[in-house]
Symmetry: C2
Subunit: 171 residues, 2 copies
Amino acid sequence: MIIENVTNQQEVLVKMVLDTWYAKTAQLDKLLSDLSDEQLMEEVAPGRNRGFYLLGHLTTLADSIFPLLGYEKQAAHLWEPYVKMPDKKNDDLPTVSDLRKDWTIVITVLREKLAGISVQEWFEKHTAVTKEDFLREPHRNKLNVILSRLGHLDYHLGQMQFLKPRGENGE
Amino acid sequence: MIIENVTNQQEVLVKMVLDTWYAKTAQLDKLLSDLSDEQLMEEVAPGRNRGFYLLGHLTTLADSIFPLLGYEKQAAHLWEPYVKMPDKKNDDLPTVSDLRKDWTIVITVLREKLAGISVQEWFEKHTAVTKEDFLREPHRNKLNVILSRLGHLDYHLGQMQFLKPRGENGE
């Protein structure tokens, strides 16, 4: 009875984190469908990153979840231009239309993979931590990868919101 | 052995969420110490909310965690001006200096309260959900309150970052 109850709570917690991840990625999907390619080419605030740069950045950070869970990246080519290079220092960027596709592929495949991970597995170590470190730092598990990416997604979602005209819930 | 292991994982998960909350509130503390009152009076982007409005908004949303966990608010007077009223529609706002103090009080008292909640309690229902609804929706527990406020904090942290001059990690 106790085990059932506790296991139940584990399931609930995994569901809480995953559902939040799906809700936030859906929020970005919605924002992307509201924005034209031209709007995505604009800076989110004067002198700051452009919208599509943040889209590339969020796509490659979501893509970086795959290897941490033991899977292959879907869009490995985005790491260099959207993490290693700052915005506006690179003339050789994919088109906004390609980026939209990459985002959708990464999020869709990721969702399939996440759905196949058992509750127990979520509490196992991710691939970038050693067994020894994991004994000392058991929070470095697979679920924590999603939790930390969630924060990162929210942070930039707040900024990308500024691409919408003022008055359209653009605060 | 199984119970111990599972209970351990519960503890780990609570710790993950609370540590993330402490880290993010510390990130806002750091940003606030880097910004002058004058900088906080500025809009985060042209035509958008002013920095101190977002500070009041984040303070009152953190304050709103107390009643959901069964405690009293520390700064109930902030709900009306920073949630019910939009920015720039209210001439009767507290000073930035008062707001900084409110933020610190709310976060400090909250930390004390959070530290006193047992792992088991985190999985119990928060006060705004009925027993009947909680049976159907067990994710509406106390820990989920922190998880959802975390997302909200990150969202606005990304925006408040723009108050820092460009080039100072202000992207």
